[in-house]
């Protein structure tokens, strides 16, 4: 069901899945092009959670998805305010809110008071910026990536205008890791995690793809994690 939420700077759409009571998972897609590659997969994951009796919500962040904000006005601060707005709405329903972030989606929940966090292959903002620089250079050979974080006009990256404010914010952003955070990664990833699962990183595919079997494995893990947080 498509619903909506308010934040300090505006009003955005929000998908809602699952039961009207009980804990709710507030999801955040990866950033930029990776969001397009994983949207169908995340929807499959949230529906699988609903089948397991776990509710969820997927907000459009300002400047992404169906948002009316132009992409070049997007900043990390706005995304975090918006995510916090969505979390506040859900908490106001008397529910425990658990964060779910995939990749750079793990960077947008910092302002929200969450009961726990669950991340798939979270990445530091610096890695996001480095890859954006590579994509920019692929389209414009000779582009100076050392200049990305300074003053200047928005940078055209893979069809979107990205503000240097956002790139600068991302450069210093880290996922919130701690005892109430669970991290999963795809097998073969050398970085720390609580569990590695077999599968392939859909966010890398140039053509969007889906993986219902992986979604089912992750939905089981999230449902167990939320149940363990309640005890």
């Amino acid at each position: 069901m498509i619903s909506s939420y308010d934040w300090a700077g505006g009003h955005e759409a929000m998908w809602r899945f699952g039961p009207d009571a009980g804990p709710v998972v507030l999801a955040a897609l990866p950033l930029f092009e990776e969001a397009n590659r994983t949207r169908a997969f995340l929807m499959t994951l949230l529906r699988a959670l609903a089948e397991r009796g776990v509710a969820s919500a997927l907000p459009d962040l300002p400047g992404s998805g169906e948002s009316l904000f132009p992409t070049e006005t997007a900043t990390l601060d706005r995304w975090r305010q918006a995510y916090d707005g969505a979390a506040t709405l859900l908490a106001g329903e008397g529910r425990r809110v658990h964060g779910l972030g995939i990749r750079g989606g793990a960077l947008v929940d910092s302002y929200a008071l969450l009961h726990s966090r669950w991340f798939l292959s979270p990445q530091p903002g610096q890695a996001v910026v480095r890859e954006l620089g590579r994509i920019w250079q692929a389209a414009e050979p000779g582009a100076d990536t050392g200049d990305m974080l300074g003053d200047g006009p928005p940078i055209p990256i893979a069809g979107n205008l990205v503000s240097r404010t956002l790139l600068g914010e991302l450069g210093g952003a880290l996922p919130m890791l701690g005892p109430s955070t669970r991290v999963l990664r795809i097998e073969g990833d050398s970085q720390p995690a609580d569990r590695w699962v077999p599968g392939s990183p859909l966010w890398r595919r140039v053509e969007p793809d889906n993986d219902p079997a992986l979604a089912a494995v992750l939905a089981d893990d999230i449902a167990d994690w939320i149940a363990s947080c309640a005890s």
Binding site: G133, R134, A138, A139, D189, S190, Q191, P201, V206
Partner: protein, 90 residues
Amino acid sequence: MRPEGVSEVEDTVRAVLRDVLGLSGERAAAFTETTPLFGALPELDSLAVAGVLTELEDRLGILIEDDEVDGDMLESFGSLTRYAVGKALR
């Protein structure tokens, strides 16, 4: 979880090419030292190169500098694997 041997790094390079370029397992498994990559694989355009490099960084726990990326490194499966081995196992 860091790779410990040459064959493990080679497996990682193969898996990264398969996953990023959307190749079948059989096609990726058939890659040999001399299989040409950049300019020969239609799936490996400059945008896909960005994905391959970043995914190699994630999986091998390495950092690839921009000035190390050139045609020689991406010429063949063997040259890309040699580069990755040099980075990951030193």
